[in-house]
């Protein structure tokens, strides 16, 4: 076990107070997950990926604090002190222009967010206004503040992608487990089903779902993408279940009287998870790109939520306003690139083949 001690991160594990005590000795904490985590943290790519995704995630989570048509805190006036009125009472600001919304808080002592506009309401600057003090990045073709829309676009992109991927993962684990356990007729049928769904284009599913909607919502996009995404996860889980069924540790667990569900949960799923997680992070990148394509093409009625794809479509329609293309393009580059880097780094970290190779190289360089 020469190389294990050289792995970064492994040294700190000894002092971990939450680690379960075990009589095995010094190597007790070197589980597969810990070594993988160590390798992951040591990778250079992960820093860049986490910075990109982390800042976009913060934008998405705290969008309400960064851009809103109302102050964060306002005191004085009839209502007394109100905290985040745009979140607590969104109906007060719905359909109001920025001037009207700002007039609501005239005479109050207010702490304003950096961008004083919401993503939905057209501002008084008019459509396609150049950048100014009020609108650092100008306004889009519908007169809405571009910066506010970009910030809320992160929420849509990441929300849809994470929702679709997590839902797909859940479905995939359940159905993949069933497919792996089923025998005979159903085994073959489920395998075919997984293959077919896996190769069915997501955009066609989105088109079908969008066609039946009265009012398009981001949720339908999540469901549509999850309908296709589960197949990839199911394929991986099924393969692992089939492989593990004959392994000694599974046979032993069965012999000890473990129920199939417990065997699946404790002994099979942990081995299937690394590829599933990697594929899901790749899935985030793919879903963000798909969401952009769907909004760009205006497949179905426009979403109420802000979307980078919609801004791109405006840029395509109005040549000469490069910022409408460059800004969402850069944000997408960061999101997709970040997810891709993260997935790539995770794949290398989880892959036992790379571990062996690294060990190989280390011993070779040492020799």
């Amino acid at each position: 076990m020469k190389y294990e001690r050289r792995l970064p991160g492994a040294a700190g594990k000894q002092a971990d107070p939450t680690a379960r005590p075990s009589p095995a000795g010094a190597t007790k904490n070197l589980t597969h997950w810990r070594t993988a985590l160590g390798r992951l943290l040591a990778s250079r790519r992960i820093g860049l990926a986490l910075t990109l995704l982390g800042s976009l995630g913060l934008l998405a989570i705290f969008a309400d604090l960064l851009a809103a048509p109302a102050p964060l805190v306002a005191t004085g006036g009839a209502a007394g002190t109100v905290l985040l009125p745009a979140v607590v009472h969104p109906e007060r600001y719905a359909g109001k222009t920025d001037v009207e919304a700002h007039a609501l808080h005239a005479g109050q002592t207010a702490l304003w967010p950096p961008v004083r506009y919401g993503p939905d309401t057209p501002s008084s600057a008019g459509p396609l206004a150049p950048s100014s003090r009020a609108h650092p990045l100008g306004t889009d073709a519908a007169g809405r503040d571009l910066l506010a829309r970009s910030i809320y676009g992160a929420r849509t992109a990441l929300g849809v992608a994470l929702g679709a991927v997590l839902l797909g993962m859940l479905l995939g684990v359940v159905l993949g487990g069933l497919a792996g356990y089923s025998r005979g007729f159903w085994n073959d049928r489920l395998a075919r089903l997984v293959e077919t769904v896996d190769t069915f284009p997501a955009i066609v599913v989105v088109a079908l779902v969008r066609a039946i909607e009265e009012r398009p919502s981001a949720l339908s996009l999540v469901v549509a993408v999850a309908c296709v995404r589960w197949a990839e996860v199911a394929r991986l889980v099924r393969a692992e279940v089939l492989r593990a069924s004959g392994e000694d540790y599974v046979v032993a667990a069965r012999a000890l009287g473990a129920r199939p569900l417990r065997v699946f949960w404790r002994h099979m799923l942990p081995n299937a998870l690394p590829p599933v997680v990697v594929s899901s992070v790749f899935g985030v990148a793919a879903t963000v790109l798909l969401e952009t394509a769907v909004s760009f093409l205006a497949l179905g009625a426009p979403l109420e939520a802000a979307s980078w794809g919609e801004t791109l479509a405006q840029g395509a329609r109005t040549p000469g306003h490069a910022r409408l293309i460059v800004l969402p393009g850069l944000l997408l580059l960061a999101t997709v690139g970040g997810s891709y880097l993260l997935a790539d780094a995770m794949r290398d970290a989880f892959d036992p083949r790379t571990v062996r190779r690294r060990a190989d190289e280390l011993t070779r360089t040492a020799a």
Partner: protein
């Protein structure tokens, strides 16, 4: 291996049926224009039910437990007439519409009615007698003479209302086409409709055009429709008219025929919304879209563009990505590797829409430009996969053995490592087209290529079920074929995989 491939090919059929069922289930929730309350308020209930009938909205989705045929409709109308309530006017019109096809069930049942209702029902059939051009037809409309008129009619002519007699009458008409033959069929009224429409063929020369014209004339006469073929109509117009009549027949067939025995069992499946769609799709080449264009010919024009775009881009991307991956693996840990990794990452993450807009802004159009733009986003996956596959293979014993035997490093790389590394990359290639389709739609839209994308977007807006169903089917067909091709490609790349299939065949 061939048998395996054929078996898989056969399995695509149930797969496609399954896809069509699921897609139809989803699309059956499309809000129909007739659900619009504003329209409902404006239209007469009869018009509304006519519209809903045309869209098969009066039928269940997948299984019709009790399909209604002419017998039930006639019995219902007679009962309503005999009752003499507020629905009598509607029942009278229904009876006239059903016409000759209903006579075998209405006339023998007249005896069972009380004198008053009997006269009402018989008189209601008056317009049918006029339409049939019977002698002294005015008697049939008069309540006092109607009952004896129809009784006599059924005694004299009831024997003509037999399926075999009608079939030979239609055949005679198709062969000789004289006025007597036309009168023969006119007297049978809607009873002959089934055979008339079956005999109706799309015209291809003057003689068949004339035949179609006569048959359409009869059909239009007995149904009171104005859709006929003009004597000087072109073959295309005549063909379109025949097509319209067939379409009409798929909707209204059950009004004029009796469903009994096996036909009833079949009708439980065909007299449904899905059944109607499937019948239209099979007999009329996927039906027509919202603009009235035939879906199949529109697809035949547009699918090749999209397929060329997607597959061209994938071939380009893999032709570039595989060598890049090998190069990347060969120079692992050096600057080349880093440069390749960074550039393919950027290529992957640049949204296709941005690239397409930039390319279109520079005036580039056409299929090849589209392929290039689409390929940019696809290079990353094969490059990375090939890199890790070759890197893994290079650390394996057989490559080490090859090196030890004195093979050069490039030879070990290309001959021994590449082939083994190719397998996972081929798996990926089979998964690529569905991912690339979204990008292809964007590129078609921006570069103005006549692919499947734009009509699909229009279909989503216009809620065009025929087109969306067709697109789902085409996508499913390509998905199923892709799986088979990937299977075969595996075996080509790794002959060991072929063996289990053979073994299974032998033991079976």
């Amino acid at each position: 291996m061939l048998r395996h491939a054929l078996r898989r090919l056969l399995w695509t059929l149930p797969t496609l049926v399954g896809i069509s069922v699921i897609a139809f289930l989803v699309l059956s929730f499309v809000p129909d224009p007739t659900d619009d309350p504003a329209l409902r308020a404006r239209l007469h209930p009869a018009e509304l039910s006519h519209l809903r009938r045309q869209r098969a909205l009066d039928l269940p989705r997948f299984l019709n437990v009790a399909p209604r045929d002419v017998r039930q409709r006639a019995a219902q109308a007679v009962a309503a007439l005999a009752d003499g309530g507020g629905e009598a006017a509607g029942a009278r019109a229904e009876l006239v519409r059903l016409g000759g096809a209903a006579l075998p069930y209405v006339l023998p049942a007249l005896d069972a009615l009380a004198p008053d209702p009997r006269a009402r029902v018989a008189a209601a059939l008056g317009p049918v007698a006029v339409r049939m051009e019977l002698r002294r037809a005015e008697d049939a409309g008069d309540p006092t003479t109607a009952v004896p008129f129809w009784t006599r009619f059924w005694d004299d002519r009831g024997v003509e209302f037999r399926a075999a007699a009608v079939r030979s009458a239609v055949q005679r008409l198709a062969r000789y086409g004289t006025a007597t033959r036309v009168a023969e069929l006119t007297e049978l009224d809607t009873f002959a409709l089934d055979d008339v429409i079956t005999a109706l063929e799309a015209p291809h020369d003057v003689a068949s055009g004339e035949r179609a014209r006569v048959l359409v004339d009869i059909a239009a006469h007995v149904t009171g429709s104005a859709d006929r073929i003009a004597p000087d109509a072109s073959l295309t117009d005549a063909g379109a008219c025949v097509q319209r009549w067939r379409q009409w027949w798929t909707i209204y067939r059950s009004d004029f025929v009796v469903l009994a025995g096996p036909a009833r069992g079949a009708a439980m499946l065909t007299e449904t919304r899905y059944g109607k769609w499937a019948l239209t799709a099979v007999t009329q080449r996927l039906g027509v879209d919202n603009q009235g264009r035939p879906v199949a010919s529109e697809l035949a024009r547009r699918v090749p563009v999209t397929v060329a775009l997607v597959f061209g881009a994938i071939v380009l991307a893999y032709a570039l990505g595989i060598p890049l991956g090998v190069l990347s693996a060969a120079s692992r840990g050096r600057k080349t590797d880093l440069i390749i990794a960074t550039s393919v990452l950027v290529c992957y993450a640049v949204p296709t829409a941005v690239l397409a807009v930039l390319v279109a802004g520079r005036g580039a159009h056409g299929l090849f430009a589209g392929m290039l733009v689409l390929a940019v986003g696809l290079v990353a996956v094969p490059t990375r996969q090939q890199r890790s596959a070759v890197a893994w293979a290079m650390s394996q014993d057989w490559v080490r053995a090859a090196l030890a035997r004195g093979n050069s490093r490039p030879r070990a790389l290309l001959v021994h490592a590449l082939r083994n590394g190719l397998l996972p990359v081929l798996t990926l290639a089979s998964l690529e087209p569905p991912m690339a389709l979204g990008g292809a739609f964007v590129i078609e839209h921006v570069l103005g290529l006549p692919g499947v994308g734009d009509p699909t977007i229009a279909a989503v807006h216009g809620r065009d079920v025929a087109w969306l169903m067709a697109v789902a089917l085409v996508a499913g067909a390509f998905a199923a074929l892709g799986v088979i091709v990937a299977d075969l490609a595996y075996v080509l790349a790794d002959p060991r995989l072929a063996r289990p299939n053979f073994n299974r065949k032998r033991s079976a």
